[in-house]
Symmetry: C2
Subunit: 267 residues, 2 copies
């Protein structure tokens, strides 16, 4: 079982920032990534629909014999507990809890400003995970995902859009002390966000914190692999493998060979 792969899924490419952090933190592990590109994005869809899609994605990974599933999508992480209950004893880990814990560790009283998709904001997922321990401000940033997928990770348009979303949050009183990037697409916009937010604010990125949580979970459950050189990661998508490979490298930080991307059907 220890040599089995770690499964990761997201609506599309954003989760590749989590995969990037994971492959770097866990070089002996094998990874399978599933992007539900036929139905992306999840961020504008209802909780009921996102739960259904997430269950289908998790089941597809379970069928492929993974030892652990990472829900590398903030919007879909609202379903992480149900997935864990339904797929037990297979462990399922979302990005919300590690992100919330990391933000609290940096600024225990907050205020913590959560930047996220419409879906995550509407569900109040981070506020629930933080559970009244700190003041939480929320800001939906619907243009961040399209900007990131367009490769517009810097420049005047990106600056203006980041300013548009950040200014209402930064002008709150008391002002936030931590910005939590509550969508796996957002880390590629981190430099612009840092420039607009200024040097004082802590920026917490769920990709990094989720990699730490996965590492800890593997240790506790004694599930770590001990390969010297794991095989290249596998990529599964529900649509448009070529587009996934082309745009995905912005998020993964490495070239993705389109021939390595397999088309599957979740319905």
């Amino acid at each position: 079982m220890n040599q089995a792969a770690i499964g990761i899924f997201d609506s599309g490419m954003g989760g590749l920032t989590v995969m990037r952090a994971l492959t770097s933190a866990l070089p002996s592990e094998q990874f399978i990534y599933l992007g539900d590109t036929a139905r992306l994005p999840y961020g504008t869809k209802s909780a009921t629909t996102v739960r259904r899609y997430a269950m289908q994605a998790a089941q597809a990974l379970a069928l492929r014999g993974v030892k652990l599933i990472v829900v590398a999508c903030n919007t879909a992480s609202l379903a992480a507990r149900e997935l864990a209950a339904s797929l037990a004893p297979l462990p399922v880990l979302g990005v919300i809890e590690p992100g919330a814990a990391a933000a609290l560790a940096v600024t225990p009283q907050g205020p913590i400003a959560v930047l996220a998709t419409e879906g995550t904001v509407k569900e109040g997922a981070y506020a629930r995970a933080i559970g009244g321990r700190a003041t939480v401000l929320q800001q939906a940033c619907p243009l961040f995902v399209p900007l990131a997928e367009e490769g517009l990770i810097d420049g005047q348009i990106t600056e203006l859009v980041v300013r548009r979303y950040l200014e209402p949050v930064l002008s709150q009183s008391p002002a936030p002390r931590t910005l939590l990037l509550g969508c796996t697409h957002y880390p590629v916009l981190r430099e612009v966000i840092r420039r607009i937010a200024g040097p004082e604010l802590a920026i917490v990125d769920s990709a990094q914190t989720t990699a730490a949580a996965v590492t800890e979970l593997l240790r506790v459950r004694q599930l770590r692999a001990d390969r010297n050189a794991p095989a290249a990661p596998r990529f599964l998508v529900t649509d448009a493998p070529e587009r996934f490979a082309r745009i995905g490298q912005v998020f993964f930080g490495e070239v993705i060979d389109p021939d390595q991307v397999e088309l599957i059907d979740l319905q």
Copy 2:
């Protein structure tokens, strides 16, 4: 049969610009609009997937007894002929052919610049419909749909984005004489597009031209209704009725009552 409704479908809300033109052109007709919001957008998805989704949407409308189906989505219009063949004798009309015909009518030799989604550009749908009669330039504008759905139909960000996509097209030689708005979301950005493109270029909008084509088809097939006061339009969506009602009014130009939006399942 003449009193039956006209069915319209789109991946989401963009097709409401077509519905708006249709309700204005055909005040005696009843309309049913279907937005496949659980799987929007179609513009970044593969032709195979879009064909499958379009067939499910068209069948759902056919089951509701419509007399005509309008594919109010440029990306899905690539499937219009197959839908027509499969649902015959029910007439099915896409937006590509009327848009191409209108652009040719305005500038018979072109050049015609088509602004569209990635999917429509990749399929070369307008170039095929124009069929060598005029020079066609194509430009994918992936940020237009998210901007329009965010309600950002004017202002500095929108101007910069429009400039980003238009400048490479406007600087071609010979320069385009017509801009064809090849996505049903784009008409809400028309004023900014006009400002950047200048007063000389013709702007053709498939919503208007499709309304004219539907009017003509109803006349030729003797399918026009003769109601004095048709019932309010029906709206069907596959996800998030509240969001559809809220954002949809930007495109429809009228308030949409969320209680009038029915949730259905296409799978």
